[in-house]
Symmetry: C2
Subunit: 346 residues, 2 copies
Amino acid sequence: MRLIYSLLGILLFNSGFSQNRAGKPAENYVLVIHGGAGTILKSQMSPEKEKAYRDALTLALQQGYAVLQSGGKAIDAVTAAILVMEDNPLFNAGKGAVFTSEGKNEMDAAVMDGSGLQAGSVAGVTVIRNPILAARAVMEKSNHVMMAGKGAEKFAADQGLQIVDPSYFYTEERWKGLQRVRQEDSMKTELDHGGKKTTQAFLFENKDSKFGTVGAVALDKSGNLAAGTSTGGMTNKKYGRIGDAPIIGAGTYANNKTCAISCTGWGEYFIRLVVAKTISDMMQYGKFSLADAANELVMKQVPALGGDGGLIAVDRNGRYAMPFNTEGMYRGVVHADGKIEVLIYK
Amino acid sequence: MRLIYSLLGILLFNSGFSQNRAGKPAENYVLVIHGGAGTILKSQMSPEKEKAYRDALTLALQQGYAVLQSGGKAIDAVTAAILVMEDNPLFNAGKGAVFTSEGKNEMDAAVMDGSGLQAGSVAGVTVIRNPILAARAVMEKSNHVMMAGKGAEKFAADQGLQIVDPSYFYTEERWKGLQRVRQEDSMKTELDHGGKKTTQAFLFENKDSKFGTVGAVALDKSGNLAAGTSTGGMTNKKYGRIGDAPIIGAGTYANNKTCAISCTGWGEYFIRLVVAKTISDMMQYGKFSLADAANELVMKQVPALGGDGGLIAVDRNGRYAMPFNTEGMYRGVVHADGKIEVLIYK
């Protein structure tokens, strides 16, 4: 599968790619990625761990850039970048997904191609090695947009995607994370029942170990926008909870007329505000710039309801934004000239 | 449960309801409902069946109106109206839900309260008698917005909602519908494999027996907007497909600043266009009227992609719209003066 994606750029280049209105490939193409937002403090990060994150983000950008640079599609660049992060246990997506309260890994993913508003997503899947490929298959090989659970897994298997034993997703760090959050959650319950308020700091720490997402957005040489998001969801989640990542319009959206968006953070707030589509609508109907619309959501509307997180966004002119209202967000951008920037803290 | 809702209006009235800015309860309150859109032709409807639909829609409006008239909340009126339709086998929601390809009934539902942008939804539930009550419980009793499958069912049971044997949802008409659609789908597959195009009319007929939804939107005396949607999904659906009904922003949305929306139709197109939130955004950021925004989506954007359906909408001033681009849509409205209108055809 990795080979296929490595070859995709070359194939697309050889088959000739479509051109923008001026008849010439645009040179403002760009890829932006994130690996989750939260209380990421330099004081709590070892140099080794920071290097591992930077290396992983750089590799994801390089894989996606190879697609764009050779004239490939935005949707392929987004997929290539997300595959790198899904396969790296540092991120809460694919290998490295967090555990549910039942000790399982239940993953969600979505993609959207802004060129024709095609979209696909999967929710609550447990045996698909790369959920982002399942979301793409839903988009490209079915009449549906969203599939969940066993049904989505059957579809992915029917499409020949790699099915793995659930143990593939086990990582010691995430398993320890589940035990820690279980303990914190039960402490919180005890405190609540005792009539005492839990401290804000305590809740935040707990929440940060619960959330995490990866995502990518891209503008290609032909002027097409695409977005993708993949996540292991919340540590210790119950009741088949679905977050914003697989919900088209909430955590993921792309429209060639406006922008491509991938969100990360406290999913419930991003669903209630339909964050990604709202940014697109503010640009289309309210004449907002991408930066102003993205800031309005991340810095005002989400915090006003009590939520937090961040997002990455790129518009049809190649302008991009990476706002977040947490301490940090793993993020990076690669420009048309190949220059790579990777950032973690504020 | 029905008794509780019948009593709700009285209780809310006695406890005193909040008032609008002028300090006086608004008298422009209104409830609008739908029971699904499709190729509903008078020529194919018996007088008895038409009367049964009109009676059911009237009862749903009466139940919701009782809540509004006595000063109850929009969200309670929406719930009361949807409960009537979920319990009536005429509609594809609750009792009367269509069958999946595996011969099961898998239901989705969502509610949203525009007063605080609270929302709740369930997807792919099979044993909850009234999915709309499960969506409300997610909104009111959990920290989540969306739950799916067995997890959602466990949550509903934990909350004391009525759990039924899946056979409760069996109706002979829907079972026959599954056999008919199975046959049509296999014929379609044969035709496709034979390289022949299926006719548009054939596809439409098949599609109509596949879709159906119920929904309600309301403005209460205090100026609060709410929306709810419930569905049995698509006949013969596979792979855990999730439609637009349970997706906040797509099939269901409410915001006191703008409007409340519930959609019905070919869900995939409503998801890709994030129809409900787009209408809200066009009003908020583009200064569209409710009617203009709703028409733009139903008469232009949805058909432009190849989809069809309709929606009901009410804005904060009590103006409402019920556009659809199909032959018919079961729908009705009750005004503050208690006047009830029920419509089926164009």
